[in-house]
Symmetry: C2
DNA sequence: GAGCGCATGTAAGCTGTTACATGATTCT
DNA sequence: AGAATCATGTAACAGCTTACATGCGCTC
């Protein structure tokens, strides 16, 4: 369901686009919020078309199909935003490794935490390059702020835990 | 893979347990880190047994089977902790709704943000009740700290965004 | 004409959710 | 006796990943 909403959102915000365009948009602007590759996007678009949420506006070279969001699609998207109670389903490798950390010797735990710290750092440097220069609207700004804040919190947490573990050596 | 590691971790940290026990443990101590219900856990335990990572220690009343982690299982768990580069796969309804927020009228966006704020608040109050009194070790402490910090960051973010949106009315 | 990026797809397999099904034990 | 909780499972489906497959159009 959420994948649908993400695609509808992109189509409403940025206008008609092909599956390929949407996959690129996902990579560039949405990947810190929701992830999906083209192998998931293409079949989903076909289903959304047959459900009347989007329609094929035109077909170009190489079978390129441009999809537009329909009125029905817009209605569904807005209803979902208004009414859908967000699920807090967390499945994070990082949090799991953090959870299991006390099973390791202090020295090894430090190595693991350092790797986790690096992964937060990488993520932060990716997010700091957003939004890409061509985006004119402030679409996605709120989510970006959240991503940045959470990542910085993660970094601070890693530093704090590292300090504690190092003091045990 | 991560589900396996979570189960191995529980078995190593808390000792032998049945599928039922593990499902309860998941709910009580791990659910802010990784989620799984009994319908996923039971079949996974069978596979882990046939892969030699765990073994049936004894069988009690009502077909209750107590599993123990094997040496091989411990090895695999520790190797995973040491070597596994954590994937940062985010699929968050909340972040997605935040991303799409600018598609709504300001007043509606405020409603959505207030709901998001409440969900962070609920989560915080759940986490603040952890760890359950019976847990003696500091197992899971690092992950809990991370969860608390990230949730507080989420709350602060929601308040900041709400202030901004309200000033636009 | 060789190679690269564009563009679209399928298929197999793994992971996770929801609904269904069953029966034993304990408590009131 | 009836209800709640313990305890284990199966089956169908939905969601996601990885690998494979194909062919166009542009540039060098």
């Amino acid at each position: 369901m959420s994948l649908r909403m993400a695609l509808l959102g992109l189509l409403e915000a940025k206008g008609p686009a092909s599956g390929y365009d949407l996959a690129k948009s996902f990579e560039r602007s949405l990947n810190h919020v929701w992830q999906a590759g083209h192998t998931q996007i293409y079949p989903e678009l076909v289903k959304m078309d047959s459900d009347g949420l989007i329609a094929v506006q035109s077909e170009g070279a190489r079978g390129r199909k441009i999809y537009v969001i329909t009125e029905d699609g817009k209605g569904r998207l807005h209803a979902w935003l208004r009414d859908h109670e967000p699920a807090i389903t967390i499945r994070s490798d990082i949090a799991l490794q953090a959870f299991l950390l006390p099973l390791l010797e202090t020295a090894q735990a430090i190595d693991v935490l350092e790797r986790i710290r690096r992964s937060f750092e990488e993520r932060l440097s990716v997010l700091e390059c957003f939004p890409d220069p061509e985006s004119k609207s402030d679409f996605g700004r709120f989510a970006l702020k959240l991503g940045l804040a959470q990542t910085r919190t993660g970094l601070a947490w890693a530093d704090e835990c590292l300090a504690e573990l190092r003091s045990r050596l």
